[in-house]
Symmetry: D2
Subunit: 418 residues, 4 copies
């Protein structure tokens, strides 16, 4: 018996943070659940491994890392005299563990093509289902996650400018991509956290660490998350999936693993998730909960020899890493240019007029996705006064938080544009 | 044009080694080939990620790392006055790049179940095919790889007690598992390499580094490669694949991706590989060259709901990480004990007598696989005399190199053995 | 003989950079010279070790590190097609090795009290003396150091916004203080260096690394170099030395080691250095070349029991780390406040009116000392166009380079200011 | 007031261990005492910085590091159910903080020449004096330090095979010398500590970490602590100090700082320490408590121009790093060889027969000093049974713990031995 309890508090080796101590039975049991185990099979950074060969780390590891940081943050805040009960500590830890549980494989890509619902909404659905299974033990975690609990700073630890999600992923992504410059002083930032007026704030001594955090985050956006080759690969994957769906909708045969078939052949909406309708003997949520990177990977491999020339060519490009050339611009591309490229594609790549548009992708990228929390970072000085980070720092940080928008245009590398 | 050449010499971020500079166009082109790209989708350590969540690194990264170390070793040896021509340097680098190209996903497991041929044999076949494609540019690499080239020390850099393969994987596996103690002083060991009488040897000053290397390797065997939970998971995967094969051979339906189906439904031998017979429109080697982790992953997911109670239960156990209990022993387990467990299984897990044996696994593990090179490590002293490492060190290193054999016995965790 | 040559190219272990390979006989011989060996006994960060216990690293290590980075920079620039002859490479390396050779112990402090000459001027004198000894082998190094060589970018590698001095010390000081956040991506910045129009510039891909470098530098200023406790300790040391000098000038006995006595009892000017006048049998420069941290350290220890109550009390404060309280302000302190403190000192610390002013220190600190190069950082884009870093980056970097001035006020901690 | 308490629990940056939290007011106050502050000015590794330029770290840092590890060890043992009261925790922490407080500068050297008493004895005397000052608060710490407390495992945490002293210094010395291979898995070893039958033991899972610890220690002996150039430098320093003492005893003038003069001009024994006799107005212990590296450093500098040709030449050799050639042998050197060298010295270095012996040094080094604890490492298996590490490990560890003795012979490098 005792043996068993020890196991539930077991220690996990993490290359980034060292030993992670789970500490709680509830956390252990949540990790054991198939919903959470699925995260082992979803890469944190989607297709980025095509540019950064080391970036194979999973959402599973990241969630454990965020749990570890949360434990530290709780301990720091308690030492500074802020009350956090054991129940609240468990709840906020469970909330951070599960904050990403609803992610699809290649999340941004799939949310653009196959699933008409955000991963945040699915995360919440999964938490609620787990809460039933765990007989209400997640009540408080869900209230904190949805910002419906009186202590708002607990929610901010899960989702805010300085949440444990972000602190872990910036460091972790920096570690696995090998972009060492992205490293942030997580340990120090956590030591500088404080609570003022129920808001998560930063002690004044931590200003330079926060500046460095903001700069590192910016560096990671442009050097990793929005790396142009990664953007090109992702837009290619979107194109592939759209084409596969077109074919499926036209009633033609498209190979798919069972889970992928559900989302490829049906148009699934938020309502389908909610009303628990079943397809092939399982609810939509249950199907979703089995989707992982390998479903997409297998499909791409098989589609390379699909009779449809567009699907096969696009799949081959992605599988063999013959990615499309990508141009970036701060202004939208001229329709004239796009027309010209389209014409070149028709003469060089495919003579089918309808097919041509499949070989040219345009769109825009912004750092917004990584920057969703627009609230300010508040700084607490020694005298107990509060300042906005922008006032507290004597460099202009506005630029670091503003949304930058770039337009991209992709087409086959071998294309000669006349 | 110049732009293109620069790309071919591009720099890759590696979390373990920093910047890796490919330096050669041939190496770049080999990496681009689908045979090599496949390694991106095969985890270096198979199922170990179930125990070490960070161990998702791929054989692709490892091969690039070994290339990087090879460049350093070549440069050290040249500085010490040993002739290595540019052609030889390119060839030995190509040989290390491709040394693992024939690995199957979950290599040891598949070599025990689906494929009756070693990955070394397949690596050689693939190299030969690439050599044709590259019009003989790999001639010398193949001769070095197969130890048919006059300068034997070049072969030893690819495959020997201190080869670049081993130096890279020990460090890399230590890095990604988070078992920091496995770290070896790669940079220093390489600086201590020398050649004596056409043999790769170590300068005397490097003795303590070599001792530490041997101890780290040993630590990695028992703490990572032969970790009991990993052994349990792998034996479960073997069991699953065997059962799937039985069902397929009995003519019943078993879901499989196209590539996996080829190896599940046919008994493929070395001859089939060699005679280039085709199945479903592709050679056996070509089918093999598309197999990766996701084929196995998808099969396991789908088999969880297969009508066969054995296949479904075993697949569920593996997917949901309900791994079997494992006992280790230095002597074989008593047949009486196994009989008793078998009886318990029949009364508690399945009442089908025939099925019971599927839920009990026995076998042996040795450190041999990781220790295949039995040749000695030679030490060169300042006066130019050569010693065997065992003489040179004043601790007894015999034990570090001897084969240790352990017997294992696995059965379901929930089983009460009476 | 050969043995000897090998020694001259020997490899040095460096905790920050790994193995440092000296590569050149000239560099080796310069390091062997007592002028350079003296740097082993001068802490890079003066009194900072009173705040950061690990900051005992010496100017010796730093100079070797800068040599190592210079070798890398040369190799990168040559790969990018810029001509650097072997002689130029040796000269620029010698220049960086010797760039700090003229530093006094606790450099800024001594330049404010005992020595009326800058360390840069002394460095040049020492180089010239070494040049005679080495029979002109340093001619080119000196021309590069003094910016009198046609290839200006070589000078900028020694002294400029992105010189090897700065790249090494930022990283090294970050390493030894334990302020991990100060770490900069040296390897990457060096890879991004380029030359345009004879100016050292940065490739556009390196913009984010440069931003991070600027932020890290800023963080190091305020968190380390201008740490308030360090400023307090340094101003105390200035006060101690001034008092000792007063006593010596008054003809009273003040203990000093032979080298310190020279500078304590005489007013030495640049002219004294230049005209090679001798004191006690050695030139001023030669006396200077024997001064190190231990001369100051011994004096402080002995002065703790000096009959002068001011000297003894101040020395005790510094030795036992009873540092003075320090207030910082962005505006000068009110004369009224200073008067009040002075009065409190007279009633609480010493009743001697004249002595009181020794226990109150005011002054200003700026980040200027660390920021002397006002020239711009230039960025080279892919099309070969040059931009100023401030245009190239879309955050406002002006603030990062502007001089920040703070006023400080120190007085004994135990003082109650009424 | 509160402010003050917070200060006493302040956080210190440590490059090796990150943030060190002092946690206790007593520890803070002990650190503030001049006895402890002195350790800032004593290098942990004496003259090793002549070989490893980064090895300037002080005994001060090491003692803080050992405190940090002690806190972790206490917390691990308490979690495993072993009672350690708050008083015991404070006492064992104070004991490790002060365990090295009695070290002289260049400890082994001075114990061989100037001070006829071991540093352990002085540490105890200093602790007793501090205990009086702190009104008995160190009673329990002293009992633990001297192994006179009922819970023996507490003593073993301070001084034993796996004490916190050793765990910290192995890692720290590895860090600062840059001999990265010496790194041990401190965090893991501490997690594996346990108590059995009042003895500090290791959990069975930690066997491989212990093996690695033993090998790393061995590597550090031979690669750092007993590095031949370091041995040569230390024997030169012994020779210098002996000569200075001879001259002083002959009544001639030898420059010395006040503190050094006490020990150079008098023969101080343990009794002098104990009977509190005063010299020049201070007790012997108080004089000792002011000695640090700078006293030796200054003397060496000044002695370079001493009229005695032996003292000046030896001092010059050490200051300018013209170290003597050193030969090592596992058997004592032949008297004939020594005679021959002596003769060569008389003809080449000095024609004074009596002086010659000052230029030849012989002696022996052993790993004993670093290996004083001969008790076994005990291993606790899962079933609660205890084994000796040598049985538990299947490699032969005897060799790792045995005393290795090497003989050395040093003489001037320029000597031609005929």
């Amino acid at each position: 018996m005792i043996q068993h309890q020890i196991n539930k508090k077991k220690i996990i080796n993490d290359p980034v943070l060292g030993f992670i101590n789970l500490q709680s039975e509830l956390i252990f049991d949540l990790i054991e659940h198939p919903y959470f185990q699925r995260l082992r099979r979803i890469r944190q950074l989607g297709l980025s491994y095509l540019v950064f060969p080391g970036a194979n780390h999973s959402r599973f590891e990241h969630a454990l890392g965020a749990v570890h940081l949360m434990r530290q943050a709780i301990s720091v805040l308690k030492l500074k005299g802020h009350e956090i009960t054991d129940d609240e500590a468990d709840a906020v830890t469970a909330a951070i563990l599960l904050h990403d549980i609803g992610h699809a494989p290649f999340s941004h890509v799939l949310e653009n093509t196959l699933v008409k619902i955000s991963h945040e909404q699915i995360s919440l659905m999964m938490m609620k289902e787990l809460n039933e299974l765990f007989e209400g033990k997640l009540d408080l975690a869900i209230r904190i996650f949805t910002n419906n609990y009186k202590k708002q700073f607990l929610h901010q630890l899960v989702s805010g400018q300085l949440d444990m999600d972000r602190l872990d992923y910036l460091n972790r992504d920096s570690f696995f991509t090998g972009v060492a410059e992205g490293t942030i002083g997580v340990e120090r930032i956590i030591k500088m956290l404080n609570v003022w007026n129920d808001q998560l704030v930063v002690d004044e001594k931590g200003i330079y660490s926060i500046e460095k955090f903001l700069i590192s985050r910016r560096l990671m956006y442009w050097q990793v998350y929005l790396h142009k080759t990664v953007v090109s690969a992702e837009s290619l994957l979107i194109q592939v999936l759209r084409r596969a769906r077109q074919i499926a909708e036209a009633g033609e045969n498209v190979y798919a693993t069972p889970a992928l078939k559900v989302f490829l052949s049906n148009t699934i909406t938020k309502t389908d998730f909610e009303k628990s309708s079943t397809i092939d003997g399982a609810t939509v949520l249950n199907w979703y909960a089995t989707l992982d990177d390998s479903d997409i990977s297998i499909a791409l491999k098989v589609w390379q020899s699909h009779p449809d020339p567009v699907l096969s060519k696009l799949s081959q490009s992605l599988m063999n890493r013959k990615l499309f050339k990508i141009n970036l611009s701060t202004t939208p591309f001229e329709p004239g240019l796009i027309k010209k490229i389209n014409a070149s594609i028709q003469s060089q790549i495919t003579d089918n007029k309808q097919f041509a548009s499949n070989f040219i992708m345009t769109g825009e990228i912004t750092n917004k996705a990584y920057n969703k929390h627009n609230e300010k970072i508040l700084v607490l000085d020694k005298s107990g006064k509060i300042k906005d980070m922008e006032q507290a720092s004597d460099i202009n940080l506005m630029a670091l938080t503003k949304t930058v928008r770039k337009y991209y245009l992709c087409y086959p590398k071998e294309l000669v544009v006349n």
